[in-house]
């Protein structure tokens, strides 16, 4: 099922949480929704899950509009809300049974589905416990189980790994990847590594608008631009080295990273390289190079550049 978001706008009072956002998710795609806190990720996901109605715009899931056919869309969506709300006083099996019934799964299939979910989400040891007694990581798994129990075509996961320990994060990521092979998955996060590890496509949203739409590789390429070098130079006073480096014409900026080790970060002007000039300068001044590494821009930096204004 394709998801088409068209000119989505949602206001909270005078503030626009989402401002004229449009994008499209193809069936079978794993889309990562990125953005700083309060960027509008959750609002967009809530609208997709038919929990809130946008003032303007529409979302079409498999051709059905959220305004006209929410009941059809809800049947085909598995949704894990941001802070994973669950009935704390119920035990896992009763809870999953309730969700299965609400989804209209035939009665004879329910026990099988529940067992399947308990196995898939690794809840075997805890299945008779009350949800309120579970640790956060296990609660998150119950949240995933309830989102998956009716075998939906589309999964919407709002920050599925918050509050989990590193092992659990890896496990949940594996699970999402496995699910993503068959289903359309939309997941939000503000952890870039997570999105990079699990998603085919990244959508960065900031102040309610989409700033980037593409794969991780495309994103890198787009933001790469200038050459950045990490340079270590010894054999002279740091100020002198700084000055002589500064004379190189192709260098745009120099930052001193470490005074003791005499490490610099050098950014060249667009479409130029300064490697040879640096080498020549060092030879001329009898300095020697202890380190010269090209720095690849991390996704984190790209994220910061794109969302910091």
């Amino acid at each position: 099922m394709d998801i088409v978001v068209e000119h989505l706008t949602k206001r909270y009072g005078p503030q626009k949480a989402v401002d004229n956002v449009s994008f499209r998710v193809k069936a079978g795609e794993v889309l990562g929704f990125l953005g700083p806190n309060g960027a509008g990720k959750t609002t967009t996901m809530k609208a997709m899950a038919c929990f809130i109605k946008p003032e303007e715009g529409d979302i079409l899931v498999g051709g059905y509009s959220i305004h006209d056919h929410p009941e059809i869309i809800k049947k085909n969506i598995g949704y894990l809300a941001e802070n994973n709300p669950l009935y704390q006083e119920m035990n896992i099996i009763d809870f999953l049974e309730f969700i299965a019934k609400i989804h209209g799964i035939p009665k004879y299939l329910i026990p099988e589905r529940i067992l399947d979910m308990i196995r898939t989400c690794g809840l075997e040891g805890e299945k008779h416990k009350l949800i309120g007694e579970l640790s956060k990581g296990y609660q998150q798994r119950v949240g995933l189980a309830q989102a998956l129990i009716h075998d939906p075509d589309i999964l919407i996961l709002d920050e599925p790994t918050t509050g989990l320990d590193p092992n659990q994060i890896v496990e949940i990521r594996e699970l999402i990847k496995r699910i993503g092979k068959e289903k359309t998955v939309i997941l939000s996060s503000h952890i870039l590594a997570e999105v990079e590890a699990t998603c085919d496509r990244i959508l960065i949203i900031n102040n309610g608008r989409i700033v980037v739409d593409g794969t991780a590789a495309e994103l890198r390429k787009q933001a790469q631009g200038n050459e950045i070098l990490k340079l270590g130079v010894q054999g002279g006073d740091i100020d002198h080295i700084f000055e002589s480096l500064f004379e190189i014409e192709t260098i745009d900026s120099i930052d001193i990273i470490d005074v003791d080790k005499q490490l610099f970060e050098i950014q060249s002007l667009p479409n130029t390289t300064s490697v040879k000039a640096i080498f020549d300068t060092c030879v001329r001044n009898n300095y020697y190079i202890t380190e010269l590494t090209p720095t690849e821009k991390k996704l984190e930096d790209i994220f910061r550049i794109l969302t910091l204004h």
Binding site: P85, I102, G104
Partner: protein, 239 residues
């Protein structure tokens, strides 16, 4: 319809799991039993084979208990975030409201069920007006429906269960006594208006054994108005 039943049965089991139901039933039966059979204007003191005392006690105790039962229905779900869980499942706003309404009504019916023993006891003692007693129960259920819907409405308005409970009580008290008091202080149109608005007028007329469509219209229109307003508030959520 199935969704309504699923929601209602889950809600009902929560009432029992959290002991709320047991506390309610024990206190309700204790109170009504005590005043019906043992103390005050009890059956033996009155010397008539009717359950008027029981209906009066139930009329008051349900008025106080129901807001405590309904206060968490929407406000609690909202606070715990589970409203989002429920409403992103194939459940419409109406189904949620009706499910909550039905669960509380069922709990009240369960609490009232053991008091049928009073009726059989009375029957053994003397000549009973069967229809009056039957209609007394109908009246109690109708009155409970009104207070449950008021409670649900309050629970939709307030985001905090305690405030929801107090709101429900303060709305309820108008129908419970204030309109009645006003009715006795006014004459003419205002007097009859307040008298019509007062729940006790209609409850008394039904529990006397008279079913008038006027009374039924009163009860059902109040219930409908409250549930409809609750649904509108829920649908216009901006969370």
């Amino acid at each position: 319809m199935k969704q309504i039943l699923h929601i209602a049965s889950r809600e009902l089991s929560t009432f029992f799991d959290s002991l709320t139901a047991y506390v309610l039933i024990v206190i309700f039966l204790g109170f009504s039993g005590f005043f019906t059979w043992i103390y005050g204007a009890d059956v033996f003191f009155v010397g008539q084979a009717n359950l008027n005392t029981f209906f009066t006690v139930a009329y008051w105790s349900l008025f106080i208990f129901i807001p405590a039962l309904t206060m968490r229905s929407i406000a609690g779900e909202l606070k715990a975030g589970t409203l989002e869980l429920l409403l992103t499942k194939p459940v419409s706003d109406w189904q949620l409201i009706f499910g909550k309404f039905l669960s509380t009504l069922l709990l009240i019916a369960i609490a009232l069920a053991p008091t049928v023993i009073y009726y059989f006891t009375l029957w053994a003692i003397g000549p009973v007006d069967h229809s009056a007693i039957l209609l007394g129960y109908v009246g109690l259920l109708l009155m409970s429906m009104v207070y449950i819907s008021i409670g649900l409405l309050a629970s939709c308005i307030a985001s905090n269960p305690i405030i929801a409970s107090l709101t429900a009580l303060s709305i309820g008290i108008f129908f419970h006594i204030i309109f009645d008091v006003l009715a006795s202080n006014f004459v003419g149109f205002l007097g009859s208006f307040f008298s019509y608005m007062s729940l006790s007028t209609h409850f008394e007329s039904i529990s006397r054994g008279v079913v008038d469509t006027k009374d039924l219209i009163y009860f059902f229109s109040l219930v409908f108005f409250c549930l409809f307003t609750s649904k509108m508030i829920l649908s216009n959520r901006n969370l």
